[in-house]
């Protein structure tokens, strides 16, 4: 069967909206366009009912109660609200925050900003497999620690952190635990009770819902979490997030969560099967390829591979009918290779050669076969072009060579 090109395999960046989600959203653009805050007419009531329904759908997926769900514009806002909201609200209790180095920039840059305002932040390192060391977490805690912010699963390498253990430590010490669960919600079972999560960031567009909508889970008891708002205004969402609710988006997020809940188990099995097929098909045909991050603690739809001696951007260029992404510096604005891979201890030379494959709900086995063939063929072609591959084959140890960088580059 011929596959339809281009193939999308970058589902950690974003996902297409599921047609069932679009269908659920449609009436809320036109017929049911009301403002959920309009308390005195039918249009408002319809919108409010739809919003409350979505709140319940999200709550069910993560084992929370609907009142603990607050809608936002997306997970970046949720994470900002979580960290800045706790920092401001509990300033008298302490000024210390613990996070880790492979977090999303929404977390890292928010923490960096707080450092400017007198907060102290510990950025825990990760082990070679991409997970934090729980003893190091325990050691980092001080009487001034008010928040631990650790992601559920990483967006580049798909590595899942020991969340329930972190939740337990946080609870023991009476510290709030914020979890950026953007990549994990809807993909693996996330349970805020079992996992001991107090605050959690959720995104719509990573789970086949629309862009521009997200949510934050804020625990109401054991312990009750209060957040200082970062957006002030009409006092929507119990004062935590002012602004007219994005009703169609919220309906879409709710529906997306409902679909994930129903289909998660079978989808995870299907996607991990495809992922393993992709990995095996590529790695059995190419030498000098390396998986980045733990295979054991990993999202079912992620694989991240370094193809030694082949620069990532040139590989992407060769497989231009396949949408994936690379940790190569050349694909980033900063000319630095992936900070996530560097944190794992992956050498910069190998970080430049990494490709992230993010499978999704709509990928097929035919697509996986096509992608694997294209990758193998392109890596072989580029290795023929690579002086490093030639030297490696001649037995030259590249790591011990003295390299002279270009006169003004880097």
């Amino acid at each position: 069967m011929a596959v339809k090109l281009p193939i999308y395999m970058d589902n950690h960046a974003t996902t297409p909206v599921d047609p069932r989600v679009v269908e659920a959203m449609m009436p809320f653009f036109t017929d049911k366009f009301g403002n959920a805050a309009s308390r005195n007419h039918e249009f408002g009531w319809q919108a409010e009912e739809a919003v409350e329904n979505a709140r319940a759908q999200i709550a069910r997926l993560i084992n929370a109660t609907p009142k603990e769900i607050v809608f936002t514009s997306g997970a970046t806002e949720s994470t900002n609200l979580a960290i800045k909201g706790v920092a401001e609200m509990y300033r008298e209790k302490g000024n210390h925050i613990i996070t880790q180095v492979t977090e999303h920039k929404a977390t890292l840059d928010t923490c960096k900003r707080l450092e400017k305002y007198g907060y102290e932040v510990n950025y825990l390192p990760v082990e070679k497999d991409g997970r934090i060391n729980l003893d190091e977490l325990r050691r980092a805690i001080t009487p001034k620690t008010i928040l631990i912010s650790i992601m559920y699963a990483n967006n580049e390498i798909g590595v899942v952190q020991p969340i329930a253990e972190i939740g337990k430590i946080a609870k023991e010490k009476g510290i709030f635990f914020h979890c950026d669960a953007v990549q994990a919600v809807g993909k693996v079972p996330v349970d805020v009770q079992k996992d001991g999560i107090d605050i959690m960031s959720i995104s719509g567009h990573k789970i086949y819902g629309p862009k521009g909508v997200g949510a934050i889970y804020v625990r109401r008891k054991n312990p009750r979490v209060q957040l200082a708002a970062i957006i002030d205004g009409g006092g929507h969402e119990r004062g935590m997030r002012s602004g007219t609710l994005n009703v169609p988006g919220i309906v879409g997020l709710g529906k997306a969560c409902e679909l994930c809940q129903v289909e998660m188990a079978s989808e995870a099995k299907h996607l991990s099967g495809l992922r393993d097929k992709l990995k095996d098909s590529i790695m059995s045909r190419l030498d000098e390829t390396y998986i980045n991050g733990s295979m054991e603690h990993r999202l079912p739809h992620n694989i991240n591979i370094s193809f030694a001696f082949v620069e990532g951007e040139s590989l992407l260029m060769g497989i231009n009918d396949v949408a994936v992404s690379s940790g190569s510096a050349c694909t980033s604005a900063t000319l630095e290779p992936s900070y996530v891979l560097k944190a794992l201890g992956v050498g910069e030379d190998l970080a430049h050669t990494s490709i992230r494959f993010g499978l999704g709900r709509f990928n097929t086995e035919e697509e996986v076969n096509y992608v694997a063939d294209r990758v193998v063929e392109t890596v072989n072609r580029l290795r023929e072009l690579s002086p490093l591959y030639e030297m490696a084959k001649e037995g030259v140890d590249i790591s011990n060579m003295k390299w002279v960088a270009a006169s003004d580059s880097h």
Binding site: E311, S314, C330, D349, E384, P387, L388
Partner: protein
């Protein structure tokens, strides 16, 4: 990022890929860049010591599409030129020919460095003082 047509063409049909015998007295080899920086270029040229004309040029490059295109173009340009003419090639000429965006200028710098490194190696092998690029350019003007 969108690539220019010329970059895509060189990437898809790289000219003069391969290696020359680096032990040959008439072959100059330049290896520049670093794996940690994401680009390494190897440029080799076979120069006729009588006429000082570059008769053959080969390259291998680890790097992005623009780095591959820059080195591929460099081999095309140096072929048939004298050593002195080749040394006069500027990275800005490569930038213009390939329409490289600012973020890719270092690829062209690397290609210019590779030409100079290869010819410097050739000169050393020929027993000439490996003149610095700046001096050799000055000598021609």
């Amino acid at each position: 990022m969108a690539y220019s047509e010329k970059v895509v063409d060189h990437y898809n049909n790289p000219r003069n890929v391969g290696s020359l015998d680096k032990k040959d007295k008439n072959v100059g080899t330049g290896l520049v860049g670093a794996p940690e920086c994401g680009d390494v270029m190897k440029l080799q040229m076979k120069v006729n010591p009588e006429t000082r004309v570059i008769e053959e040029a080969k390259f291998k490059t680890f790097g992005c599409g623009s780095a591959i295109a820059s080195s591929s173009l460099a081999t095309e340009w140096v072929k048939g030129k004298t050593v002195e003419e080749a040394l006069a090639i500027k990275n800005t000429d490569i930038v213009r020919e390939l329409s490289l965006p600012p973020v890719k200028i270092h690829c062209s710098v690397l290609a210019e460095d590779a030409i100079k490194a290869a010819l410097s190696d050739w000169k050393t092998k020929q027993g000439e003082a490996a003149t610095k690029p700046a001096e050799s350019t000055a000598a021609r003007s």
